[in-house]
């Protein structure tokens, strides 16, 4: 596209340098836990090993140079239709540092039935987000204080945002009135 560079230069370079610190610190502290790091469109994502997630999150929040105190969002991705689809699910965390104005994306990958440790003790706001991921993708969160469906009815079958869940045909959960 014509203005392709606009997202990547000037102010972007500064941001990239700043985010370098974050990834650098993560590498120092959690070299073995860091599965992969990606930079795209000035956003950095780090894929973490599942068992180290909570430890890494606590570090990111408590380290004064990083101070990721604000968890913006937690969501999931079903990678079933992507070229590389195993492990199947990805839980994505967007964290933000209000003080330093930096963003970071963390991810863990799990297969069907595997639980992700909850981060509600690090960021209480994760509570509802994790319930939503559980509801929509069927990824359980180990240690979650209140793991119930949140958007769908409690007795709903299936997890709507999975790629093998049909867009149109929903299970029928109401009763027909007798003719």
């Amino acid at each position: 596209m014509d203005d392709a560079e606009d997202w990547g230069t000037e102010e972007g370079e500064e941001a990239q340098a700043a985010e370098g610190i974050v990834l650098q610190r993560l590498r120092e502290q959690f070299a073995e836990a860091l599965v992969d790091v990606k930079l795209w469109r000035n956003e950095s994502s780090a894929i973490l090993r599942r068992q180290d997630l909570v430890r890494a999150c606590r570090f990111l929040r408590d380290d004064p140079d990083l101070a990721f105190d604000f968890l913006s969002d937690v969501t999931g991705v079903d990678r079933l239709m992507l070229p590389e689809s195993s492990p199947r699910f990805e839980v994505v965390y967007h964290v933000y540092s209000i003080q330093h104005g930096r963003r970071l994306r963390l991810k863990v990958r799990v297969d069907e039935g595997e639980a992700v440790p909850t981060v509600t003790e690090v960021w209480p706001t994760a509570n509802w987000h994790e319930r939503e991921v559980y509801d929509m993708f069927g990824v359980p969160f180990a240690g979650h204080p209140d793991l119930r469906r949140i958007l769908m009815p409690d007795d709903w079958e299936g997890h709507p945002l999975r790629k093998d869940y049909p867009v149109e045909a929903s299970p029928k959960w109401w009763e027909e009135e007798p003719a």
């Binding site: 014509d2 203005d3 239709m81 945002l161």
Partner: protein, 391 residues
């Protein structure tokens, strides 16, 4: 001899008028004191994120209108900006100015509904009527630009659906001229009103650490004194070129949230005024025929234009594989759009971080230990929209 005490479980909603839609709260009460508050949501779940996966990028925009239906253009903006970021496209200056101008008017419009209904919940009937009088003028502007008063779907990937109609600038100018006096009218009715203050001062207080930990954003967070506003922290659409302040509160109670939003309307008015001055003639779409449909008269003259038109409407455009998270400052708080593309013409996954969803999580913290009558005041001060919470 002691009398055994029992607590009462009270179901509030989902059809309660002060829950602003279909929110259901299960309250655990000891007399009039709230011991526990459990929100139940999902009554308005329409599968917007699922629906977006089966639509081409451009086709998905109308669905986003329906999340926060009081601020449809803010939702449009988050979605198109995320796609533009993934594409690596920046829209022309005129389109950016129009986007800022309209989203700031949207902020005023959304805050007006908040103020009217919040006051109505607490018992100040007349404010509601005044607020809707001014909101009507903004709805007229929506109608002028897009033909739709509510679900306008005016922004497009790569620019706008159409240029501003003739006379639009005068229409905005006329509104901006009267709005400050109107705002003063609302404040005269409320700010020093002893009844209003009794219902709001010191009610639903939340500490700044709690607010951050619970992910509160927007006016709710700023009322606790945290200066986090996406427009300043990570300017988009050229917000760095506008002069405005971030109003802050101190105590984080219902009254502070009220004052922050009132001050925000003044700032939005200021930004909209600057937007009008910055408005200069120019293109409203990026000059990329693979992204933006050609002008209709061209179709009869140019073979390429016809091919591009056909390709865009039969297949759409492709977005490079990758993922982006783009937050904007919506009237309710940080509205983030997380987009995953597999390189195809449809998004692989779209997720919205709806500010109301996250803000509602703080409700329990704000009302526990307080009186049941305060619950209504606190819900109003959170300014939630269930369409966005349930998506």
């Amino acid at each position: 001899m002691t009398t055994p005490t029992r607590t009462m479980t009270l179901n509030m909603g989902p059809q309660h008028p002060s829950t602003h839609g279909v929110l259901r709260l299960v309250l655990e009460l000891d007399g009039e004191v709230v011991l526990g508050c459990t929100p139940h949501i999902g009554y308005l779940h329409t599968g917007i994120e699922k629906g977006l996966e089966s639509k081409r990028y451009q086709q998905g925009i109308p669905l986003t209108d329906r999340m926060d239906y009081l601020a449809p253009l803010s939702n449009n903006l988050a979605y198109v900006l995320a796609i533009e970021k993934a594409l690596g496209v920046v829209v022309p200056d005129r389109a950016q100015v129009i986007r800022v101008l309209l989203t700031e008017l949207t902020r005023i419009k959304s805050h007006l509904v908040w103020l009217g209904t919040h006051a109505l919940d607490i018992g100040a009937m007349s404010v509601f009527l005044y607020c809707f009088r001014e909101r009507e003028q903004i709805l007229d502007m929506y109608e002028a630009v897009s033909g739709q008063r509510m679900m306008s779907t005016y922004f497009r990937v790569g620019g706008l659906a159409a240029d501003l109609p003739p006379g639009f600038e005068d229409q905005v100018q006329a509104f901006l001229q009267v709005f400050p006096t109107r705002l003063q009218e609302y404040e005269d009715l409320l700010t020093h009103n002893p009844l209003w203050r009794q219902r709001t001062v010191g009610i639903g207080t939340i500490k700044r650490e709690d607010a951050i930990a619970l992910g509160l954003s927007g006016p709710g967070l700023r009322a606790c004194g945290v200066a986090y506003d996406v427009r300043k922290a990570h300017p988009y659409s050229g917000y760095e070129r506008y002069q405005f302040e971030i109003p802050l509160g101190k105590t984080g109670d219902v009254f502070d949230r009220y004052q922050v939003r009132m001050a925000e309307m003044r700032q939005s008015h200021r930004i909209a005024h600057q937007g009008l001055q910055k408005l200069s003639p120019g293109p409203i779409n990026v000059a990329d025929p693979k992204l933006v449909p050609p002008a209709k008269p061209l179709l009869k003259k140019s073979m390429e234009a016809l091919i591009h038109h056909f390709k865009l409407y039969s297949e759409g455009f492709h977005v490079p594989a990758g993922e982006v998270y783009l937050p904007i400052e919506a009237p309710k708080g940080e509205l983030g759009c997380y987009l995953v593309s597999d390189g195809g013409p449809r998004p692989y996954r779209v997720h919205f971080r709806p500010p109301s969803f996250v803000n509602l999580q703080s409700l329990s913290k704000m009302v526990e230990g307080r009186l049941v009558a305060d619950v209504v005041a606190v819900i109003g001060s959170l300014d939630i929209v269930l369409g966005e919470i349930d998506r």
